[in-house]
C-alpha cells in the first residue's frame, strides 16, 4: 500500500532541494525565459516596427497550408506572419522547455542523490520501493509542468499585448495551444521524467543520467523542426492523439519502473 504522507514528505524534500540549488535553477529559469520572452517579443516588435520585413518571409509563410490560418477579416501579410510565428513557430519551444526542465530535475533528483551520497540513507527507511519511485517522479514532473504553465501564461500575455494589434483581434490561445499545454506537455514531461529515472537507477551520477536522458529529446526536437518548417502543422486533434499515445507509453513505463525497481540493484551502482 502506498502511503501518500510519505510520498508527500519525499516530494517536499526534493522540491526544497531543487529550488535552493542555484546551479539547477539558474539555467532552468534563464534559458526558458529567454526563449519564451526574448524570441516572441523580438519577433512581434520587429513586425510592428517594420512590416516590410515580411517580404523576406514570403516563402516561409507560403510553406504553411492555407487551412492553418483562420479567415480573419483584413488580415495583412504581417498579421499572417505574426499568427504563424506565434501559433506554430514558437509552439515547439513549449515542448522543449518542460522536457529540458524535467530531464535536469529528474537527473539531479535520483542520480544526483547517488553522486552526493545521500541516496543510501533513503534506501534504509521504511519508504516502499513504489513510494520512493513515485515521490521521485512527482518531484520532477510537477515543477516541469508548473514551469511550462507559468511560461504559457507569460507568453499568452505577450502575444495578446503585442500580437493582437498586428493580427487584428485577440486570437490566442488557440485550440491547438490548449491541447498542447493541457495534454501534450504533461504527458511528454512524464515520459521524460520516467525515462531519466529509469536510466538513473543505473547511472553513477547526474551528468551521466542527464546525457542519456537528454538523448530522448532528439525525436521531440525532430517534431519541433517539422512544425517550424511547416512540414507538419499540428492541429488540436493531432496533438490530442499524440498525447494519448504518450499517456499510454507513460503508463507502461511507470509500470516497468515500479516493478523493476530493486534496492539491491540501486545499491550495486552506488559510487
Amino acid at each position: 500500500m502506498i502511503r501518500l504522507d510519505r510520498v508527500r514528505a519525499l516530494l517536499a524534500k526534493d522540491l526544497a532541494e531543487t529550488f535552493s540549488t542555484a546551479q539547477i535553477m539558474g539555467p532552468l529559469v534563464v534559458v526558458p525565459l529567454m526563449i519564451i520572452i526574448g524570441y516572441p517579443v523580438g519577433f512581434l516588435l520587429a513586425l510592428q516596427s517594420a512590416p516590410g520585413a515580411v517580404d523576406g518571409l514570403k516563402d516561409f509563410i507560403g510553406s504553411f497550408p492555407v487551412s492553418a490560418i483562420p479567415a480573419i477579416p483584413g488580415l495583412t501579410s504581417a498579421g499572417r506572419a505574426a499568427y504563424i510565428g506565434v501559433v506554430y513557430l514558437f509552439a515547439g519551444f513549449f515542448l522543449i522547455v518542460p522536457t529540458m526542465v524535467s530531464t535536469v530535475i529528474a537527473a539531479n533528483s535520483f542520480a544526483g542523490e547517488k553522486e552526493r551520497r545521500t541516496l543510501e540513507g533513503l534506501l534504509y527507511t521504511p519508504l516502499s520501493d513504489a513510494e520512493l519511485v513515485i515521490g521521485k517522479i512527482a518531484a520532477s514532473f510537477l515543477p516541469a509542468v508548473m514551469f511550462a504553465w507559468v511560461c504559457f501564461a507569460i507568453y499568452t500575455g505577450i502575444v495578446d499585448v503585442l500580437g493582437a494589434p498586428i493580427v487584428g483581434e485577440l486570437f490566442f490561445p488557440t485550440a491547438n495551444w490548449w491541447a498542447l499545454m493541457v495534454l501534450l506537455v504533461p504527458t511528454v514531461s512524464l515520459f521524460m521524467v520516467a525515462t531519466v529515472v529509469l536510466v538513473s537507477t543505473k547511472a553513477r551520477g547526474f551528468q551521466e543520467a542527464n546525457a542519456i536522458g537528454g538523448s530522448v529529446v532528439l525525436p521531440i526536437i525532430g517534431v519541433v523542426a517539422a512544425q517550424v518548417s511547416g512540414i507538419m502543422v499540428l492541429s488540436a486533434e493531432v496533438i490530442a492523439v499524440v498525447s494519448f499515445a504518450f499517456a499510454f507509453l507513460d503508463a507502461g513505463l511507470l509500470w516497468v519502473i515500479v516493478r523493476a525497481f530493486r534496492r539491491s540493484r540501486v545499491v550495486s551502482y552506488l559510487p
Binding site: K13, P126, S264
Partner: protein, 327 residues
C-alpha cells in the same frame, strides 16, 4: 512455529547462518554466522573491505545474499520480511545529509518516513537535536556544520524512528573525545534501559572493547571469532602475562622473576616487568610466589589480552580454506 523457535526469535535480534555474497567471482562474505541477542551492543570488526558494509546492507534487505541458510532480523526472515523490519531499524552508514536542508528538516523528513505526522516529526527532531546539543542550530542548513556536528546528525537520524535495532557505522569518527564518550554512554544506557540492540562497525577497538557486550571479527569474508571482547581476546591471544611493578627503590631482578613457578619469559619496560606465564591456570601460583618475594611491590596482576591484540592476531591470518569452501 514451535515455542522453542518463538523463544529463540524473541531472544535474538539477528540470526545469520551461512551468509555468502559474491561480487562477480570475488567472495565478499564466505559463510558468515552471527547470533546477536536482543539488547546487546554488538561490534563487527574488520579491516577495510572485509565485508562489514555488505553485511549491514544484506541485514537491512537493500542487498541480496548470494546464498544463505538462515537470515532473520527481529524475528523476520529476509529478504521477504524487509519491509517489516525497516520501521524497526535505524541505520547510520557512511552517507551524507541533505546539505541544503536545515538540521530540523533533515531529521523531521526521516521521522515522516517512519510514519510520524508533521508536528510529531518536528518534536522528535527537536528532541534529538537537544540530546546531541544541536538544538540552537536547528534552523541552520547542515552544509555549515562541522564534520563532528554532521556525524551527530547522522546518528540522530538513525535514532529518529525509535528503532529496536540500530546500526551505527564508525559512530565516533570526527567526534571529539567528550562527544565520543557521551555517545558510548548513551549506547550503553539505551541498550540496558530500553533493550535496544546496537550493531556497531568501527575501527576504534578501544571503544568497542569498552562498550560492546559482544564482538565478531570479520576478515577474508569469514568470522574469525565472536563472543564477549574478553572471550575473543583470550581465544585469539594465547599468551598469558603477569605485570609485576616494584615499589620505587626496591631491587627486583629478571632472574628472581624467571625463577618463579610458571614463568617462561619476560619483558621489562618503564620500571615494570611483564612476565610470560605458561598458562592461565599457572597464574595464581605465580602471583602467590611473586608477592612472597622479599621485595616491596606496588602490584602484581594478570595483564589480560586486549581486543586490539586479538584483532591483529585474527586479521593477519587469512583463511583461504574457508573462502574456497564457500565457492
Amino acid at each position: 512455529m514451535t515455542d522453542g523457535v518463538a523463544n529463540l526469535d524473541d531472544r535474538l535480534a539477528v540470526e545469520v547462518r551461512g551468509l555468502t555474497r559474491f561480487f562477480g567471482a570475488v567472495p565478499a562474505l564466505a559463510g558468515v554466522d552471527l547470533e546477536i541477542p536482543r539488547g546487546a551492543v554488538f561490534g563487527l570488526l574488520g579491516p577495510n573491505g572485509a565485508g562489514k558494509t555488505t553485511t549491514v546492507r544484506i541485514l537491512n534487505g537493500v542487498l541480496d545474499a548470494t546464498r544463505v541458510d538462515t537470515l532473520r532480523v527481529l524475528g523476520h526472515d529476509l529478504p521477504e520480511g524487509a519491509s517489516e523490519i525497516r520501521p524497526l531499524v535505524g541505520v547510520q552508514t557512511d552517507t551524507n545529509l541533505y546539505d541544503r536542508l536545515t538540521a530540523r528538516d533533515n531529521l523531521s523528513l526521516f521521522a515522516r518516513f517512519y510514519g510520524l505526522d508533521a508536528a510529531a516529526a518536528a518534536r522528535r527532531a527537536d528532541g534529538l537535536l537537544d540530546m546531541f546539543g544541536l538544538l540552537p542550530r536547528a534552523r541552520e542548513r547542515v552544509e555549515r556544520f562541522s564534520k563532528g556536528m554532521k556525524q551527530k546528525m547522522l546518528i540522530a537520524r538513525a535514532l529518529v524512528g525509535s528503532p529496536q535495532l540500530v546500526y551505527p557505522g564508525e559512530p565516533t569518527a570526527g567526534l571529539d573525545p567528550e562527544a565520543s564518550h557521551e555517545l558510548m554512554s548513551y549506547i550503553r544506557t539505551v541498550s540496558r534501559a530500553e533493550h535496544t540492540t546496537f550493531f556497531l562497525t568501527s575501527h576504534r577497538l578501544d571503544e568497542m572493547e569498552d562498550v560492546c557486550t559482544k564482538v565478531a571479527v570479520l576478515a577474508g569474508g569469514v568470522i574469525r571469532a565472536q563472543g564477549s571482547p574478553a572471550e575473543v581476546a583470550r581465544a585469539a591471544v594465547p599468551r598469558v602475562r603477569v605485570r609485576v611493578t616494584p615499589a620505587p627503590g626496591a631491587v627486583l631482578t629478571a632472574r628472581m622473576l624467571l625463577a618463579l613457578p610458571g614463568a617462561t619469559g619476560m619483558d621489562a619496560a618503564d620500571g615494570t616487568f611483564l612476565v610470560d606465564v605458561a598458562s592461565l591456570s599457572a597464574v595464581p601460583g605465580f602471583v602467590r610466589a611473586a608477592v612472597a618475594l622479599p621485595v616491596d611491590l606496588l602490584g602484581v596482576a594478570e595483564e589480560a589480552p586486549t581486543l586490539q591484540e586479538a584483532y591483529l592476531a585474527l586479521v593477519g591470518t587469512p583463511s583461504d580454506d574457508a573462502v574456497e569452501a564457500a565457492r
